[in-house]
């Protein structure tokens, strides 16, 4: 038990530090023309007030992370039984703190833009060749998912082959020292549940990867050709990251599946090394990728192909000064939530950070919100109930 608590403590701390670093660095890898969800002209990216605003946000996040780290340490020392509870709730606390730090920054950014009368032209663009919107799926690295599905199918075939040899009661759970502590009756359902879960994960990950390619293309008007190239490279690299993580978890799940089938029985060190290794890789790679590539790849330096040079300079230049009401800030509630009734897009790039978001004016968006909120609440309630029952 003490060992478990220590492992959880280390995991909790690492998750906090990693997400903390990611959050604190967020204003720096978000696009240069975006300041806390407010669009500003790129030339003002080094304005003293902008620098101060970004720095204060990072410092505040740093402070919050330290408070949470102290709380986690306190829990480890004085209430070691509550480890899982902390693991689930600490990230939520950090998200909550992020909002506390973000909202005032967004307000200040808006004020700054208004006071300095920064105007950004609001231009929407589409590509008729659609190298990035129609042919997108063909650029996706499908092999990650094909290998994932293939592994699951091979595993299912093996399961059927060894099924007669499996003892009537199967081990389905082990404690931290790899001693069996839960069993279930042998049935096709119990044998196939793990490869099925792996398949389901493959489907979900494949879907999120396709979402990446379906995301609305927000071309930076200050350098469209480079922006096109960056988007292309970013989406490809992100697909590789997602595909790799999917495959890693798929292998890990099937490894556990093999244990229930008694195909192999590794010692506890191997199992822990695998779990921690996979988790670490699946956190570290996306964190490193986000910071390195920036929002939608704005830090990447890809080769600009001739196909990226599409803006021929033939577009009649608008001579009137854009009115503030015509800027796209008004579609971003709190600078965070995209709400545009006119826009049929469902997935958009986030304005703060590197994630994608939804167009909340579309009814489909709310289906996602309900699904995700349901899953989150279910996890929280379940963890709490289990913890209380164990007390």
């Amino acid at each position: 038990m003490a060992e478990m608590a220590l492992i959880f403590y280390v995991i909790n701390l690492s998750v906090l530090i990693l997400t903390g670093v990611l959050l604190a660095a967020m204003p720096y890898y978000t696009g240069k023309s975006l300041l806390f969800g407010v669009r500003i002209p790129q030339i003002h990216k080094n304005h003293p007030a902008v620098i101060v605003l970004k720095r204060n946000f990072s410092l505040l996040i740093g402070l919050f992370v330290m408070i949470l780290m102290a709380a986690v340490t306190f829990q480890y020392l004085f209430a070691p039984k509550w480890s899982i509870f902390t693991s689930v709730f600490a990230p939520f606390a950090l998200v909550f703190f992020q909002i506390i730090a973000y909202v005032p920054s967004w307000k200040k950014a808006r004020k700054l833009k208004k006071e300095n009368q920064w105007v950004v032209s609001f231009v929407g663009s589409a590509d008729t060749n659609m190298a990035l919107s129609r042919q997108t799926f063909s650029r996706m690295p499908w092999y990650w998912y094909i290998s994932g599905f293939a592994l699951c199918i091979i595993f299912i075939l093996i399961s059927f082959m060894v099924y007669p040899k499996i003892p009537e009661t199967m081990v389905t759970h082990w404690n931290a020292r790899m001693q069996p502590d839960d069993w279930s009756q042998k049935s096709y359902l119990s044998v196939l549940s793990i490869p099925m879960i792996a398949m389901g994960m493959n489907v979900i990950m494949l879907f999120s990867n396709m979402m990446v390619w379906r995301m609305k293309l927000q071309v930076n008007q200050e350098n469209p050709a480079l922006s096109f190239a960056q988007h292309r490279k970013y989406r490809l690299l992100l697909s590789h990251v997602l595909g790799l993580i999917n495959l890693l978890f798929c292998v890990l799940l099937l490894f556990f599946g093999g244990m229930t089938l008694e195909l192999w029985l590794p010692d506890s060190n191997t199992v822990w090394a695998l779990i921690i290794g996979t988790t670490a890789v699946s956190i570290l790679i996306p964190v490193a990728f986000s910071i390195w590539a920036g929002q939608a790849g704005n830090k990447l330096k890809p080769k600009v192909l001739p196909e990226d040079e599409r803006s021929a300079g033939l577009i009649p230049k608008n001579t009137t000064v854009p009115k503030p009401s015509f800027q796209d800030d008004r579609y971003w509630i709190l600078g965070m939530f995209y709400y545009n009734r006119e826009d049929p897009t469902l997935f958009v790039e986030d304005r703060f950070g590197t994630n994608g978001g939804l167009n909340y004016a579309r009814p489909m968006a709310w289906v996602f919100v309900v699904l995700i909120a349901g899953l989150t609440i279910a996890t929280l309630v379940l963890t709490t109930v289990i913890m209380i029952n164990q007390m």
Binding site: V123, G124, S125, A126, S133, K216, A312, L314, P316
Partner: protein, 127 residues
């Protein structure tokens, strides 16, 4: 070709879309037979209402720049043959432009020079 729409501009969005497709055809950036994105796709990429794109496409179809097909969507029409009736249409379209040039004291040689420059600029594909 990249279609850009300026939301802050005075020109209605469907006119901007229509104009840019015509410019694209003139500049050779859009070739006859080339398919355009579906109404929904284009609307989603630019972030405008589907009806706006629909209006631009219908206009282009009526003017003979686009062929619309239920299955294959919108397609750039074959190059037009010379049409004597366009003379009158052109003159009508030019009246406000020429009038403004006259008001701004531009003489006819300079005006024609600008037209020449613009004409070859488009022909060269904007280079």
């Amino acid at each position: 070709m990249l279609i850009e729409v300026d939301f802050a501009g005075e020109v209605p969005i469907y006119t901007q879309v229509r104009d840019q497709i015509v410019i694209g055809i003139a500049a050779g950036l859009l070739k006859p037979g080339e398919t355009l994105p579906s109404v929904r796709r284009l609307a989603a990429d630019i972030g405008i209402n589907v009806h706006t794109v629909n209006k631009a496409y219908s206009l282009l179809r009526d003017e003979g720049f686009l062929l619309m097909d239920r299955r294959s969507g919108a397609e750039i029409a074959p190059l037009m043959t010379e049409d004597p009736s366009f003379d009158e249409l052109l003159s009508n379209k030019l009246i406000p432009v020429v009038a403004e040039a006259i008001c701004r004291r531009m003489d006819i040689e300079d005006f024609c020079l600008t037209v020449r420059k613009t004409y070859s600029f488009i022909k060269r594909g904007g280079k």
